[in-house]
Amino acid sequence: MNHQLITLLIIFGILGIINSVFLIRKRVGKMPLTCPIGNDCNKVIESKYNKILFVKNDVLGLIYYILIIVGLYFLLVSKNILVLMQIISGLALLVSLYLFYIQARVIREYCFYCNLATLINLFIFLILVFL
């Protein structure tokens, strides 16, 4: 198995975890987000779309990135889990793209950190496809 791609996958998993923990900390501590590109991240974070089935999106993201890294461990043992990981990452990417659409068309405001997560999810999906 290509160790360079596995390294990249772990890196994106770590970046995703750090991004999710950052968002959870800000939300739980009720600290306002400063958007580096000048948008109102807080409007997106505080919207009703920031949860799926009663679970906040940042928590879902954190679980997903942990799953990816744990999944990698099992992937080194057995390759059968790769298809499952590809399906999960594909679903995560679809949800991220849906949330991007919600930002663009419904909330009409962008959250930098949420879109960073979308980008990370895209990279994770692509790496898993080419792994």
Binding site: H3, Q4, T7, L8, I10, I11, I14, I18, P36
Partner: protein
């Protein structure tokens, strides 16, 4: 560090550098053989390679982690710059590979400049 542009520049520089440090940390753990050649010879004479690479991995990981969470970034960037500088110096014969590290070195120096606070009272 109040301007939004500064925050974005800092984030990009920190993320770029952190990814490089994370890559070195993780890859040298997964595939130590690929990295052993970059360890200076004088180090291998008094420290075991099997011990050195994991220690260096942890060091790289900590630098990457501190950079990405923006913790003590001024000092972490100085450490990062010094580390990259030493990597370039000790691998000069492999300049075709490490020439990219010059870019990383300047990124680390840019972060040092960005996070440098003038002593109070001076203009």
């Amino acid at each position: 560090m109040k301007l939004k542009k500064d925050i974005l520049v800092s984030l990009l520089l920190r993320t770029g550098l952190a990814i490089s440090f994370f890559y070195a940390a993780i890859s040298s753990l997964i595939s130590p053989v690929s990295w052993a050649g970059y360890v200076p010879e004088f180090l291998t004479s008094f420290i075991n390679m099997k011990l050195y690479l994991p220690i260096h991995s942890v060091y790289d990981f900590i630098i990457g982690f501190f950079l990405i969470i923006d913790y003590k970034t001024f000092y972490t960037s100085i450490l990062a710059a010094l580390t990259i500088f030493l990597i370039i110096i000790f691998n000069l014969p492999a300049l075709d590979i490490v020439f990219r590290d010059i870019g990383l070195l300047l990124m680390a120096i840019a972060l040092v400049v960005l996070y440098y606070k003038k002593p109070s009272g001076k203009k």
